[in-house]
C-alpha cells in the first residue's frame, strides 16, 4: 500500500498548482537565507583597513542605503511577486474548472471518517476511511463534523480544509492518475488524532461505477457454516448497536458502517491493515491498539471470535 504523504509529489491539478507556488517559496527562501547568511559571515570576518584601536567608536555614514535597498525595496519586490503568485494560485484552485461529476460527503468523527455517496446509484452508500473517486474529473467533497474540529487533508491531491461542527465546508480535488492517496486528520482532535487516516482510491470511471454499484448492494447472507455462526455472534454481542450492516438488521450509527467492510484496505482509520489477524485483534482488544476509541473490549471465546471474523470477511 502506498504510504507517502509527501506534499511535493502532487497527483492532481489543485496540489500541482500549490506545489508550483511552494517551489517558488522554497527557492526564494533559500536565496534570501543564503544572501543574508553570507552578509553576516562576510560582515563578521572581512578585514578592516584601519588596524587601529579595535574598540574605537566609529561613525561612518552611508549605512542607510542598506536599509532602503535591502530592507524595503528588494523585499517589497519579492513580496509583491509572491503575493501575485499566491493570489493567482488561490483563485485558480478555489473552484473546479467544470462541474464535479461526483459529490462525496465526508463526516469527521473521533477518530475516523464516515464517507457517503448520496443517492448513488439507488440509495446512499456509506463507508468509512476510504474515498473512491474516478480519475480525471473534479470531485466535490462536502465536509461536516459529528463532534469536534477535524481537518481533511490528502496532500497529493489538495491542501487542507477544516471539518467544523455546525458548518459545512466544501472543497474539491481531482486525481490525474489512478492510485491510492493517503491523507490524515490534521487538526488536533484528541487522544487518537494520530490514528485518523483517510485514503483516496482513484480508479478509472468504469471501475469506480462498478465499485459504487457493489457498495450499494446489501450484505450477502453468509453461506459458510463458520460465517453463519459468526453472524449469530455478531447479533448476540449487540455489535449492531453501534455498527450498521445493510441486510443483517444492524442499524447502529456510532461506529463505521460494516456492510462492505471486507472491501476496505484498512481498519480503525488506517491504524491496521484489513487482515484476518488484525480484525480479530481489533475486536478482542481495540483499546490496546488505539486507546480511547469508542469500541469496547469484546470478551469473546476464541471460537466465537474466529467465527465472527469469518463472518466479517464475507462482507465484500
Amino acid at each position: 500500500m502506498q504510504s507517502t504523504m509527501n506534499i511535493l509529489t502532487s497527483a492532481g491539478p489543485v496540489a500541482a498548482a500549490q506545489v508550483r507556488l511552494g517551489w517558488w517559496l522554497v527557492i526564494v527562501s533559500v536565496v534570501v537565507i543564503v544572501v543574508v547568511g553570507v552578509l553576516v559571515l562576510v560582515g563578521a570576518f572581512r578585514s578592516r583597513d584601519d588596524a587601529g584601536d579595535r574598540y574605537r567608536i566609529v561613525r561612518e555614514g552611508g549605512g542607510i542605503r542598506w536599509i532602503v535597498v535591502g530592507g524595503i525595496i528588494v523585499p517589497a519586490i519579492i513580496l509583491a511577486a509572491t503575493l501575485a503568485f499566491t493570489i493567482g494560485t488561490e483563485v485558480a484552485t478555489a473552484a473546479p474548472p467544470a462541474d464535479p461529476s461526483v459529490t462525496v460527503e465526508v463526516i469527521g468523527h473521533r477518530w475516523w471518517w464516515e464517507v457517503k455517496y448520496a443517492g448513488a446509484p439507488s440509495h446512499t452508500v456509506v463507508t468509512a476511511n476510504e474515498i473512491h473517486i474516478p480519475v480525471g474529473t473534479p470531485v466535490r467533497i462536502e465536509l461536516s463534523s459529528a463532534d469536534v474540529i477535524h481537518s481533511f487533508w490528502i496532500p497529493q491531491l489538495a491542501g487542507k480544509t477544516d471539518v467544523i461542527p455546525g458548518q459545512r465546508n466544501v472543497t474539491w480535488f481531482q486525481a490525474d492518475k489512478p492510485g491510492v492517496y493517503r491523507g490524515a486528520c490534521t487538526e488536533y482532535c484528541g487522544l487518537q488524532h494520530a490514528n485518523m487516516a483517510a485514503y483516496v482510491v482513484a480508479e478509472s470511471p468504469a471501475e469506480f461505477r462498478q465499485w459504487l454499484q457493489a457498495q450499494s448492494d446489501s450484505a450477502n447472507s453468509p453461506t459458510d457454516p463458520d460465517a453463519m455462526v459468526g453472524l449469530g455472534v455478531f447479533q448476540r454481542s449487540a455489535c449492531g448497536a453501534c455498527h450498521a450492516i445493510r441486510g443483517a438488521d444492524a442499524l447502529g450509527h456510532v461506529g463505521p458502517e460494516l456492510t462492505h467492510l471486507a472491501s476496505r484496505m484498512t481498519i480503525a482509520a488506517g491504524a491496521l491493515e484489513n487482515t484476518r489477524g488484525n480484525l480479530a485483534g481489533w475486536i478482542a482488544n481495540s483499546q490496546a491498539i488505539k486507546p480511547g476509541n469508542d469500541m469496547p473490549v469484546m470478551a469473546l471465546s476464541p471460537g466465537d471470535l474466529q467465527a465472527l471474523v469469518s463472518y466479517l470477511e464475507t462482507l465484500k
Binding site: L39, E60, G63, T86, E90, L191, P291
Partner: protein
C-alpha cells in the same frame, strides 16, 4: 512633601531610603524593580527548563516510528504543557524580567512608575504558574494544545479539570501581563530622566513599549475567551457549542486576534535587545535608528491585522483569505528593515565577537529563516498544504527560539554582568553558543522537510512507512545538543557568581545609561539623576553628535523615595514623584487570587469567596495611607 535632609553621606542616605527591609518581610514586600526583574528572570528560566524537560521527553517518543514510551494521554499533556509553558510562562515573562530590571536604569529613573503594581505583576505571574502546575500534582493536566480549539475543550469532549486549569490559569496570568503593561506605559511616559526624549530611547525600550500597548489591546480577547470557555464548561453556557447556537470558530477568532499580536509581544523586545547590543559590539551607533524604532511600532500595529492567517483552512472565502495573506506579507517589511539595519551596523562597524555578539549574529540568521518560512505560511494557497504540519512547528520554533531564546541568551551574556556584578566565562559562553546554534540547526531544520514530507503536528506516534523516522532521530539528537547548551548556560551562570571577574560599571564600553552606575547597581540606581543630552550618553565624547552632552552630576532627590516626573515626549521635568514604600499587600492580593482560582477550579465556592474577601482586604490595605514617616529616622 518632607523637607528634612537625611543625614549622612549621599550614597548611605540614598541606600537607607531605597533599601528593602531584611528578612522574610523584605522578601515579600520588596517593590524594587531590580529585585522584581531578577525574580522574573529566574522564574521564567525555571519555566523554560520545565518546558524544555517536557519537550525532551516528547522527543524520545518521536525519535522513531511506532514508539511506545508514552501513552497518548501523556504525550498530549506533554505537548500541551510544553507550548503553554513556553509561550505564556517563559517567552513573555523573561522579556518582562529584562524590561523590569533595565528600564529604570536605561531611563534614568529610581524605579518603575508603579512599584507596587510591579510587585503585583510578578506575584501573579509566579502564582498563576504555580496554579497551572498544580494540574500536574492532581494529575489533570491541560491536554488540548496551547491554542485549545473549541469545541474539543468543552466539557463534553474534555471532562476532568484539565482544561479548567488552562482557562483559569490563563485568566490569572492575564492579570500579571496587563498590570505589567500598564506599568511600562506609565513609566515610559512619566518617569524618564530629564532630557531623555523619545528619540533617544534604546530600541529595546521601544520594543517593550510597543508590546505593552499590544498586551493591553490583545489580552482581553484571550481573557474573555477563557472566561467564556469556563462558563461553557461549568455553568452551562454555549458560546463555543454549535449544537446549541454557539460557534466553534468563535474561539479561533478570539484566540488568534490575541495570539498573533502575542507573537510580536514575545519577539519585539527581544529584537530590541539585539538592536541595542549589536552597536556596542560593532563599536558604532545603530544604522537607521529612527527607521528601526518606527518598524518596531508598525509591526506592533500591523500585528493586529493578520490573525486569520492561522485560519486559512477554516473555509473562509478566497477574498478574505487573500486580504490576510497580503497583510501577513506586508508585515515582513518592518522585519526586513530591522535585519538590514543590523547588517549595515555590522558592515559599517567593526564587530567584536564576544559571546553576546555571537548570539546576536546567530539570531540574525535564525530570524531570517523564521521570517521566510513565515512568508511561506502567509501565502494562503500554499499554507493549506503547510498548516498543521511539522513545517509550522519548524517555523514557530525558529521564531520563538531563534528570535526569543537566542536574543535572551545574548541579553543574559550582555546584561548579567550588570545584574550580578560578575562576568560570565567567555569560554563557556562560546561553547554554549555553538551547542545551541548547531543543536538548533540539526534539531529544528529537518522539521521543515518533515512537514513537506507530510508529517502532521500533534501526533503521538507515526508508522514507519512514511520515511519520517531518520529525520525525527536527527531532530531528537539536535534537540538534546541544544538542551546541553542550556545546561552549559546554567553552569556558566553559577560559575560567574562564584568565580566570575568583577564586571565594573561598564565592561563592554556600552553607550547607554544602565552602564553608568556600579554593577550590580545600588538600591537607588543613580546617585544623581542624569540630565540626558543624547542617544548615547556614554559615547558622547567620542561621537560627533552635535552639542548634546549628558550631565551626570545632576539633581539628587535624597529626601525620600523620589524620582522625576517628566513630559511624555520631550522628558522635560514637571514634578517630583513620591514613590511608594515597600509593602506585602501585592503578595497578599496575588495569594487571594490564587485562592479564588483554586476555589473556581475545584468547585469550592467557599474557597473562592474567601479569596474574594482576601482580595478586598488587600486592596484596602494597599490603598491605606502610610503611617510611617516617609523619611527613615537617623539611627
Amino acid at each position: 512633601m518632607a523637607t528634612t535632609t537625611v543625614p549622612g553621606q549621599l550614597p548611605e542616605r540614598l541606600t537607607r531610603i531605597w533599601e528593602t527591609a531584611p528578612g522574610l518581610y523584605g522578601v515579600l514586600a520588596s517593590v524594587d524593580h531590580k529585585t522584581i526583574g531578577r525574580r522574573y528572570l529566574v522564574t521564567s528560566i525555571i519555566f523554560l527548563l520545565l518546558g524544555g524537560g517536557e519537550a525532551a521527553v516528547m522527543r524520545l517518543q518521536l525519535s522513531h516510528a511506532d514508539a511506545h514510551l508514552l501513552s497518548p494521554e501523556a504525550y498530549n499533556q506533554l505537548f500541551s504543557m510544553h507550548g503553554i509553558t513556553m509561550i505564556f510562562w517563559y517567552a513573555a515573562p523573561v522579556l518582562s524580567g529584562f524590561s523590569n530590571y533595565l528600564w529604570p536604569l536605561m531611563l534614568g529613573a529610581r524605579d518603575m512608575a508603579c512599584p507596587r503594581a510591579n510587585a503585583l505583576s510578578y506575584w501573579t505571574f509566579l502564582m498563576s504558574g504555580v496554579f497551572l502546575y498544580t494540574s500536574v500534582l492532581v494529575g489533570q493536566v491541560p491536554d488540548r494544545g496551547w491554542f485549545a480549539y473549541a469545541p474539543l475543550t468543552e466539557a463534553a469532549y474534555s471532562p476532568g479539570l484539565n482544561m479548567d486549569f488552562y482557562a483559569i490559569g490563563l485568566t490569572f496570568l492575564s492579570v500579571s501581563t496587563s498590570v505589567g503593561a500598564v506599568n511600562f506605559i506609565v513609566t515610559l511616559f512619566k518617569t524618564r530622566a530629564p532630557g531623555l526624549s523619545v528619540n533617544r530611547l534604546p530600541i529595546f525600550v521601544w520594543g517593550t513599549l510597543t508590546t505593552s500597548f499590544s498586551v493591553l489591546l490583545a489580552t482581553p480577547a484571550l481573557t474573555a475567551a477563557c472566561v467564556m470557555l469556563f462558563l461553557d464548561r461549568r455553568f452551562g453556557s454555549h458560546f463555543f457549542d454549535p449544537g446549541h447556537g454557539g460557534s466553534a470558530l468563535l474561539w479561533q477568532h478570539m484566540f488568534w486576534s490575541f495570539g498573533h499580536p502575542w507573537v510580536y509581544i514575545v519577539v519585539l523586545p527581544a529584537m530590541g535587545m539585539v538592536s541595542d547590543l549589536i552597536p556596542t559590539f560593532c563599536r558604532r551607533p545603530l544604522v537607521g535608528y529612527t527607521l528601526v524604532a518606527l518598524a518596531t511600532v508598525s509591526t506592533g500595529i500591523l500585528g493586529f491585522g493578520v490573525w486569520v492567517h492561522h485560519m486559512f483552512a477554516t473555509g473562509i472565502p478566497a477574498t478574505a483569505s487573500s486580504f490576510f495573506s497580503a497583510a501577513s506579507m506586508v508585515i515582513t517589511i518592518p522585519s526586513a528593515i530591522a535585519v538590514f539595519s543590523w547588517l549595515a551596523t555590522m558592515w559599517h562597524g567593526r564587530p567584536i565577537f564576544k559571546t553576546p555578539m555571537l548570539f546576536a549574529a546567530g539570531f540574525i540568521v535564525l530570524f531570517v529563516v523564521g521570517g521566510v518560512s513565515g512568508v511561506a505560511t502567509a501565502a494562503n494557497a500554499y499554507d493549506l498544504q503547510l498548516t498543521d504540519t511539522y513545517f509550522v512547528v519548524a517555523h514557530l520554533h525558529y521564531v520563538l527560539i531563534g528570535i526569543n531564546v537566542f536574543a535572551v541568551m545574548a541579553g543574559f551574556y550582555f546584561w548579567l554582568p550588570k545584574i550580578t556584578g560578575r562576568m560570565m566565562s567567555e569560554w563557556l559562553g562560546k561553547l554554549n553558543f555553538w551547542l545551541m546554534f548547531l543543536g538548533f540547526g540539526v534539531g529544528f531544520f529537518p522539521m521543515h522537510t518533515l512537514g513537506l514530507m507530510g508529517m502532521p503536528r500533534r501526533i503521538y506516534t507515526y508508522s514507519s512507512g512514511f520515511g519520517w523516522g531518520w529525520q525525527n532521530m536527527w531532530v531528537t539528537v539536535g534537540a538534546y545538543v541544544f538542551a546541553l547548551g542550556v545546561v552549559v548556560f546554567v553552569i556558566n551562570f553559577f560559575w560567574s557568581l562564584a568565580m566570575g571577574e568583577p564586571a565594573g560599571p561598564n565592561p563592554w564600553d556600552a553607550p547607554t545609561l544602565e552602564w553608568a552606575m556600579s554593577s550590580p547597581p545600588p538600591d537607588y540606581n543613580f546617585e544623581h539623576i542624569p540630565i540626558v543630552g543624547s542617544r548615547h550618553p556614554l559615547w558622547e565624547d567620542r561621537l560627533d553628535e552635535g552639542t548634546g552632552r549628558t550631565v551626570f552630576g545632576g539633581p539628587v532627590l535624597d529626601h525620600a523615595r523620589d524620582t522625576f516626573g517628566t513630559t511624555p515626549l520631550d522628558a522635560e521635568p514637571q514634578e517630583i514623584l513620591r514613590m511608594p514604600e515597600d509593602t506585602a499587600w501585592p503578595f497578599v492580593l496575588s495569594l487571594s487570587i490564587l485562592v479564588i482560582a483554586y476555589g473556581l477550579v475545584f468547585g469550592a465556592m467557599w474557597l473562592a469567596v474567601l479569596g474574594v474577601i482576601g482580595l478586598f482586604v488587600s486592596i484596602v490595605g494597599w490603598l491605606l495611607p502610610s503611617h510611617e514617616p516617609t523619611i527613615p529616622a537617623e539611627v
